[in-house]
Amino acid sequence: MMHNHKNESVFVSGDEAVALGVRLSRPHVISAYPITPQTIVVERLSEMVEDGSLVARYIHVESEHSAMSAAMGASSVGARAFTATSSQGLLYMAEGLHYASGGRMPIVMMNANRSLALPWSIFGDHRDSMSMLDSGWIQVYVEDAQEALDMTIQAYRIAEDSSVLTPLMINLDGFILTHTYELVEVPPQEEVDSYLPPFSTPNKMSLEDPKSMGFSTSPADNMEFKYQQHKAMMDSREVIKQADKEYAEIFGRSYNGLIDCYQCDNAEYILVTAGSVTGTARVAVDSMRSKGIKAGVLRIRFMRPFPEQEVRNTLAGAASYGVLDKDISFGYEGTMFTNVNSALSGTAHIPRGINFIGGLGGRDISVQDIEEMFEALRLCPAHDYTEYRKNRIRFVNMGVSIHE
């Protein structure tokens, strides 16, 4: 069903778009363990290996922990590796995430954003990946199936860059992106080959230059390795921008690097989003603008490295900003909100921010919900400080059941 022809347009789900992007990236090894709503990715990849359109070793692993472990084994001998997971699976491989980043193994993984038990829920929110923010992985959140395909290809380019050598997680909202069908442009293999060179790393075991990897350190050495990891992640910001620029030159699509803004230039009220809800937010912005309200959307594409400067520059001129988190760090606030606030700290004028916690466990966020967020952002600068602080964290659609 998904055979590749020149400049082909296909009608595929987000999961399938990732699988197409993986095939175009020519991985050597795929380690696969199914979990809803990621399953279609590993199903399609197995079909591609079966029909010969993808030449790769496909390992049926027995757990997500082993999925990451096998990917690391492949990467450690210099092979390009791919795996995919979601939710509980991501947490089950959590030790491996830190391990892969510490070992500077540029594995690419797709994560289907899904809620975490308990209570069980197969539906989407960002609590899985946000809880892994400190694992040393580059994290990108895509908005649609096209971006999912394009980012899969760019992911290897970024992760394998010699100044980066850091694993990369591509996040797709569970079901909303993974299972929604869209028209997607599939670039020709030759063009992808010209964009993405074969994987080459000094950081591998080889017969020519045998190495010990995954070693231990004493307190005298450990911090230097951690500093290098941090530096590589910081340096990846330029690599990400360059990868986007060159991608646009060859394929004609750009995602503007670390953040993606809509109507932010003269906006007074800016909502910060990540992932698929951004499309809904854009519609709400158009609606607000039609009423003469200067609204805008700042979509965070990369949570790590965090687009600190871009966020600061964009929000500093606003009257107020909101952050829509599909996540909450219990006992405090949404993780994106914390990160955005930190980026703004120390600037001369810090606008007031409101944290909207929404979409947990897959609850719908409508255009109307977002319009109400903009209304709240309009009102909050006039509130007295105590009142503002009291209502700084707001749950969207709480207690409202959805009947369609």
């Binding site: 050597h28 090894v29 380690s31 790769a56 070793r57 390992i59 049926h60 692993v61 027995e62 757990s63 922990h65 082993s66 999925a67 990451m68 472990s69 096998a70 990917a71 690391m72 084994g73 492949a74 990467s75 450690s76 001998v77 210099g78 092979a79 590796a81 030790e95 491996g96 391990y99 075991m205 080889s206 017969l207 045998p210 190495k211 010990s212 990897m213 995954g214 070693f215 231990s216 350190t217 004493s218 050495d221």
Partner: protein
């Protein structure tokens, strides 16, 4: 890779695992050293958390001559799978992909990944050096700790004899996967071990060697008795030398009469407290096992 029988006399002088910080008399390091002498330069090894990774990879002093990596504690089997897949995909030929994991890393936390790797019939060699407890963390009970052994989490006192559980039957659990080749060995019988390593090196599929490896530190034994104790464990019937291939078990050594269990156990600090009634429990378990092996195994 040649088919010539490797003996202590003709084995290579080349050392692959040296300068490490293992304790004097360590059976595990001997098992790794001998294995690498058989497998040679084209070996890619993975070792999970455990004694051999703790003593062999302390930056910047690396103890392996060949390629080696520490895997996650539960992930030896799956990392080996990834390494094998990567090497094959890259067209790197004639390599050995070998795991060296302790009893905890194999029989407890790593069992799932080991089972998966055997099930996939990966061309890998997995060696479990069994020193019968979590030695690297300071002698805690594992599922391969034998009955009556005192560890820091199975203390012997008025109420308990040390470990109240018998050793998990891992060799037969591995064999039940219908693995291409599985064997037990002991650092007390090096030629038998070398033969099995040589065999494993030629297997087209997964092979598993479970080697009984003395631990003077954890067992409370003199360092110079490591080899003789490991031999005695076989001679007393508390361990056994066997193979599984082509769906059949073979006993490689059938002692005409067993070395006295009590004499063997009481040489070890971990068993010093055992009462005669405990020794009888151990002997009965041994006899039951041997009856079954002698009836059903070649």
């Amino acid at each position: 890779m040649n088919n010539k029988r490797i003996t202590v006399k003709n084995m290579t002088d080349k050392e692959y695992f040296f300068g490490h910080k293992a304790c004097a008399g360590c059976g595990g390091s001997l098992a790794v050293r001998l294995a690498l002498k058989v497998f040679g330069d084209r070996t890619f090894a993975a070792l999970p958390a455990g004694c051999m990774s703790a003593v062999g990879f302390i930056y910047p002093q690396m103890a392996f001559l060949n390629n080696a990596i520490i895997s996650t504690f539960p992930g030896t089997g799956s990392m080996l799978s990834g390494m094998r897949a990567g090497l094959d995909a890259l067209g790197i030929k004639d390599t050995h992909v070998v795991g060296f994991a302790g009893d905890g890393g194999t029989a407890d936390i790593g069992l799932q990944a080991l089972s998966g790797a055997i099930d996939r019939e990966e061309k890998i060699i997995y060696i479990c050096y069994d020193n019968e407890a979590y030695m690297n963390t300071g002698v805690q009970k594992s599922s391969l700790t034998p009955y009556g052994a005192r560890t820091t989490t199975s203390p012997a006192g008025e109420n308990l004899p040390g470990s109240v559980m018998h050793k998990k039957n891992l060799f037969e659990i591995v064999a039940a996967h219908d693995i291409a080749y599985a064997a037990t060995a002991s650092v007390g019988y090096p030629q038998d071990y070398l033969n099995k390593l040589s065999k494993a090196a030629l297997v087209e599929g997964t092979s598993y060697i479970h080697i009984y490896a003395t631990c003077p530190t954890g067992w409370g034994t003199p360092t110079e008795t490591s080899v003789s104790l490991a031999k005695e464990a076989v001679d007393s019937g508390l361990w056994y030398l066997a193979e599984y291939e082509n769906g059949e078990f073979t006993l490689n050594r059938r002692p005409k009469e067993f070395f006295p269990v009590k004499e063997h156990l009481l040489k070890q600090g971990r068993f010093k407290h055992l009462k005669d009634s405990d020794i009888r429990i151990i002997e009965e378990a041994r006899d039951k096992k041997w009856k079954r092996m002698l009836e059903h195994w070649k």
